[in-house]
Amino acid sequence: MRKFTVVLSLLLAVAVLIPVLSLAAQPSHTPHENPATAGGSSSSLLLLIFHGDIYEVALGGRYQDAQDLLDKIKHANISDELKYIVDRFDALSHELFSDLDNLENLLDEISVLLEQYQMEEAQQQLEYARTVLENVDRMLDDGEMAVDAIGRRLYIGSYAPTSQLRQAYDRLKGILEQMRLLYRDFDARLGRLFLEYEDRVAVELIPTYLTIEATPESVFVGDSIVISGQLSSEDGPLADRSVTVLFEEKPEVVSTDEGGSYSTTIDIPYRYVTSVVFVARYTPAGDDIGVYGACESPRLTVDVSYYRTYLELSAPEVAYPGLPITVTGEISTTGDSIERNISLLLDNINLATVQARDRLEEELVIPDETVTGNHTLTASISAQQRYAGVSESLTIQISQFPLQVDVQAPSLILLPGEVNITGRVWHDSGPLGDAAVRVSFGESSSTQVITDADGNFEAVLEAPLRLSLVGPKRLMVGVEPVEPYYSSAAVEKWIVVINPVGISLTLLAFVSAGFVVYRRVTKWSTRIRAETPAGRPDLPWPTPLAPSPEPESGSGLTGIRSEILTAYLEGRRAIEKATGIHIEPYITLREFLKVVVTNVTAAVGQRFTELTRMAEVTLYSAREPDEGMAADARQQAADIKKEFNRDTA
């Protein structure tokens, strides 16, 4: 026992120490925390510093960079109390930087327009710039107020001027004041441009005129076209002036000759559109500034021709991986028939490139790895000089031939043993050879076999002893064909497995256990009988919990005690006989009294209560009962019997 206690104590000690050892082996840092329950913290200092940096970038005129930096703010962790104001401030800043960038460009553009005496455009842009500048002014006001609000939320006044937070805040305020100076610069510049506009608009310019024409009037793609015209004023043609011909937003500058005429040759690109637009523009330069007005020619539209290509594509509706299909197509054009390059694609993957003139006929092999389902087959004829390209698509269904599998397996097997499985694999047109058949039985037993030329296969699986006694077990047969155009197949069967060894051993265990239990019960009953005194015919069971008083049974009670208990038993028997209620082994004298007292007359009840009290005193009290009590008990018992006899009579 002592050894056992020592071993148990040692085991307990090891069990207590093992977690400590494993804790010591953990990484030095926590690998992660649950983001859902992670505590929040944000840095107001860095937020102010970052905004100061952004405004400093803007102050340097790098408005786009400043906007890019503002976009990063969305990744910042901002406390809830600042979030709304900061979000609004950032949206405002975004708009402000955009407007300042716009204003910068506008003022530059207005300067150029005024220089070129394009007064109408200049006036429009000046008005627009004034609106933008007013917007900037409003946004600067709002921005300053937003920064003040952020300061109040951070209780910035309570920080010492030397604290990092206060310095970051003061820096941002300072940069905003500089932004205000920048606004005033823009305002002054715009004012100067307005004055310049007023000065220039007072000057009377000589109007100019520009014509434009094309030779030939219509062209094929890839051909050249001559664009010509004349620049003139009220005084006659303007020689040696620069005229800009605009074609697809690409300017080409040409000079006018002595007659004010200009001419340039332009190549029409291989863009298969039906028309293109040309326009010529004159902007006064040099000595012409302040003398002649700018002008623009009417828009000239030139028709463009090309040969259209048509393709009628056809292919089988269903195709199979690894098997070829024939794709056909009829090619026609509005020009002469020529050799064309055609790409054939399946879901944008090029399968083949072929050449054809009027008819396409090509055998395509669908890739092995193509998954079943709908796919897009496309034939694309590339553009070729005057011939436009064309692309046609069809939806084809990639499918696989289904396989049939027949499996023969026993419906019942005994463990341990072997499971013989035979079967056949075939498709609509015949047996399938060389297919891999994977057979698995339960969780651990599996094998793979190959079908013969007739599609037959045979597999033998070991079924070793297991813990289970009896029950169904799943047999899975999966077939993987070599050819990609056949689908995989699987068959499931259930086999009842009986484990005779297990059943025998279990039965033996149960029988043994039953035998042990039977012996125990028998032995226990025998012992109880041996310990229980004889002569208690009136009580069906021994009463270990509530010993019923049996003075005749040799319980050791003699003399007066025995007489009292005998009287109690007589009285009780009379009650039991009369009421049909019998005392049980587990019922105490007082519990029995409570049960019967409601089933007898008040007089009998009173007497039996007194009798029960005397029996309890006799059985459990240390006080020795006297002869008087014995006589009283006999009297009570006699009275009870008499009461019942009278009732019977």
Partner: protein, 300 residues
């Protein structure tokens, strides 16, 4: 029944109850695919069809086109390092995700100069909730970062000695390395944008370093574009995606579950089954076994 017999019976009953409880109780270990809690990788295994590996020795069977995710929280043996090197040189892609583990041991073995810093990367401004969950939004174009605009890391570290052309993702300019773990920037602590993901070509294969394996846990994949990054990493594999579980942090629960699994596998063999039945029979029949100098035994 004697006290000794009572204690032995009690111990056996307790062991059986504990074994059942341990067998049934779900795993809560970090990064494991069986763990459905916040720190497990069950969602990764479902969404990306990850195959867990219980030993790196299985790598010899699959290489070309395969991707191995390795989270080395335990040291690798020389033979395991050889397995990893063979895997990469055979055309496999190794995603080495580490923060405070043994990633540098693998990098040394592979001959890659880059290293995991092993110190906490904090970002007090750009973060999710707190500085230990930094947000990353500077990316270089690449297969891993395609469609990813923002990543949230969780108690990450950073990479060092990474070539400029190898960097795939960097932390923000406000991040810093918290050397003394006081969660505040100090004068001598490195600050600024630091590499957190990098890609390295190596002898036919590829190695991707991720300075925080926690992006793969269940509670992180829904944050920002973490899921897209995980999808991209899984998409590298043209054949199979593996997650090594043999070098993850092990708990006592894991050891005990493995032990129970071993016991179960032994018991389900014919010999084990017979031995179990024999032991049970001996225990049951012992009370009625004839004893020396007496009849059928009675322990009372």
């Amino acid at each position: 029944m004697t006290l000794r017999r009572f204690l032995v019976s009690l111990a056996i009953v307790l062991v059986i109850i504990l074994a059942v409880v341990i067998w049934v109780i779900p795993s809560d270990e970090d990064f494991r695919v069986e763990n459905t809690f916040w720190n497990g990788a069950s969602r990764l295994s479902v969404s990306q069809a990850v195959t867990p590996l219980e030993t790196l020795a299985d790598l010899s069977e699959m290489t070309e086109g395969a991707t191995l995710m390795l989270i080395p929280y335990m040291q690798l043996t020389p033979s395991e390092l050889e397995d990893v090197t063979r895997f990469v040189s055979g055309g496999g892609t190794l995603v080495l995700a580490d923060d405070y583990g043994y990633g540098n041991q693998v990098l040394s073995s592979l001959g890659i100069e880059a290293r995991f810093s092993g110190q906490a990367l904090l970002d007090p401004l750009f973060n999710y909730k707190n500085e230990q969950l930094p947000r990353v939004f500077h990316f270089s174009p690449g297969a891993v970062t395609d469609g990813v605009n923002s990543l949230v890391l969780n108690h990450a570290t950073c990479l060092t000695d990474v070539g400029a052309g190898e960097i795939l993702a960097m932390s923000s300019s406000f991040s810093f390395i918290d050397i003394n773990n006081n969660r505040q920037w100090d004068e001598d602590e490195p600050a600024g944008a630091m590499p957190v993901i990098s890609g390295h070509s190596l002898a036919g294969g590829r190695v991707i370093l991720v300075s925080d394996p926690s992006i793969f846990i269940n509670s992180m994949d829904s944050l920002d574009d973490n899921y897209s990054a995980i999808e991209n990493i899984a998409g590298i594999s043209s054949s199979q995606l593996y997650l090594d579980q043999s070098h993850l942090p092990h708990s006592d629960l894991h050891y005990t579950k493995n032990l129970l699994a071993d016991v179960r596998s032994v018991l389900t063999t014919p010999v084990g089954t017979l031995a179990l039945v024999a032991v049970l029979l001996i225990l049951i029949l012992r009370p009625i076994w004839p004893r020396k100098g007496g009849g059928i035994g009675d322990q009372e």
